[in-house]
Amino acid sequence: MQASLGSEFDPAQPLPPSSTASGPSESAGRRIARGLGRLIPFVPALIPAVIIVGIIGALLSAGLQANLGRTFFSFVWNPAQNDWGIGVFLVGSFLTAIPALTLSMLIGLGLAIASTAFLPRFVSRWLDPFVDLLAGIPSVVYGIWAYVTLRPFFSDTFNPWVHLHFGFVPGVGGRLPSTGGQGLPLAIIILTLMALPITTLLIRDSLRSVPQDLWESGLALGATRWEVVRHIALPYSNRGVLSAALLGFGRAFGETVAVAMLIGGASTLPTSVFSTSNTIPATMFSLLDSARNNSHFLSALADMGLVLLAITLVVNILGRRLVSSLYAYEMAGL
């Protein structure tokens, strides 16, 4: 009895091969099948990667179809003369995205500090969703609203007023271009609004993640609320603030339709701060129609797409690396 038990369950002996574990008894065909089976989950999981690679590949193949030569890296855009300078639109993109980001970072910091440090919780609980709601409105709706309401205000009131009172600043003075209100200022304002929910939400989230102990010990040491924010909470959440800046820039830089409606669609370098201009995405969007039968034109636009994709991807990856969780950001559809 004991001997038979011992021979059955001898701990020194390795376990007999079970039917599910792969062992020498398994045929080569089954082993290959098992290996392939382990790869099956990768097929659906790789779909986003395949799409990204497909996008880059498609843009590359279209972009390399025609040889644009050195004109691509110039500041002259004239399809009739075979001048395909991306410089004009790169300048336009940065001239709109950077001021818009600066404004929305300043307002976003203010809003986030207000709702985390100064407003009672039941007030901020009602106000914050309004700002988050800005993220959900389609950009074409922003575009038509700004085109009909803000554009006349800029052309009749804002631009002439700034021109009159700040004309001594280089770039503001000189002849006031008659743009009908379209142009850089209008695009900057609308991009500020569109980047605002991102910057506010991310800064608010990172300020909320500052441990309660730190707030309370700051206050207990006699610091005012503002001093706690300035010297404890903001330094603690500096990565979150930086990621807000990067992801907000990504949104402002890649925004297409609203900018195409509001910036005026010029293909020359702006001569004053009121000039019409064009950004890379807005150019790609509004000029594809005229590029359909011109391989050079299509190549130039595809190359612009590559530059745009490279810049937004780098900014997005850096912005995401800085913070561990972007749950709220992703649930706002960003």
Binding site: P48, I52, A114, P138, V141, G143, F285, L301, G333
Partner: protein, 304 residues
Amino acid sequence: MATATLPSAALDPDDVLTQSSGRLLWRTGFDRWIGWLLPLLFVVAIYPILDLVYYISSRAIPTLSWAILTSTNPTATDALGVPIITTFEIMAAATLLAVALGIFGGVATAEFLSTRAAEWVRASANMLAGAPSVVVGYFGYIVFVTSFGWGLSYIAGVVTLAFFMTPYVFRTADLAFSSIPRPIREAALGSGSRPVQYILRVGAPIAFPQILTGVFLAMAIGVGETAPLVLTTTYGVLVPQTLYSPVSFLTGLIWANFSQPQNSGLQILAFQAAFLLMVLVVGLNIVVRIISAQYRKRLEGLYQ
């Protein structure tokens, strides 16, 4: 004693009052003022959204009627029936495709992939979500419209839009399954269920609400997107009859008519389309918020 004199000298009440009363006044005063000024910034953020909602509603609602919403007359300038029907068709098709493309990948990433592989896969999904819509539209134009020879067509638009929506579905499916409490997973697998049984019988009921939020979110993003559809379709006046028909949709209608003269029929039509779009997107966002609030309650219950 010598060690005790240092802090007591620094905190001498007379010292604080005589030397820094001006400073103290400034500090507390600044704190009070900034506490009033910063919340005023909410006016800057909330005024535009209220104005936008009010202005678009005031232009759209007085002229909106059931006849306009349902009329499919291709020659009328006050008919929204075709764009509404087509938008819903496009959304249904693109959502189905995006769910098919995204949901399995998300579940597989959460359940089967090693941590390292999952990291890379998630990074690629985030990249795709961060890619500007115009770039995705170009991809659709180059691949589906020209290379595949589909031309500017309904199907090219639907597939491009689906690709644009895929990462959002993918991400929430992944997130939903990754955030199922570990003990639940271990209990299911430990009591002998196979991974597929765990996913279908245990994981799916828990993760379903969150996946649903992801799908609604992707729909809200997709329905408001203009570039992927405009770049891959031609604008038509009829409900699409074949896969290669021209299409008309709400965002395209706004893009085509936003610069019409003030108060012209077509501009009013664009505002009506914008109003419908806004209602649709805000409605979807509210649904998302409600579901995710409910979901959070349920999850908290699970953790107890």
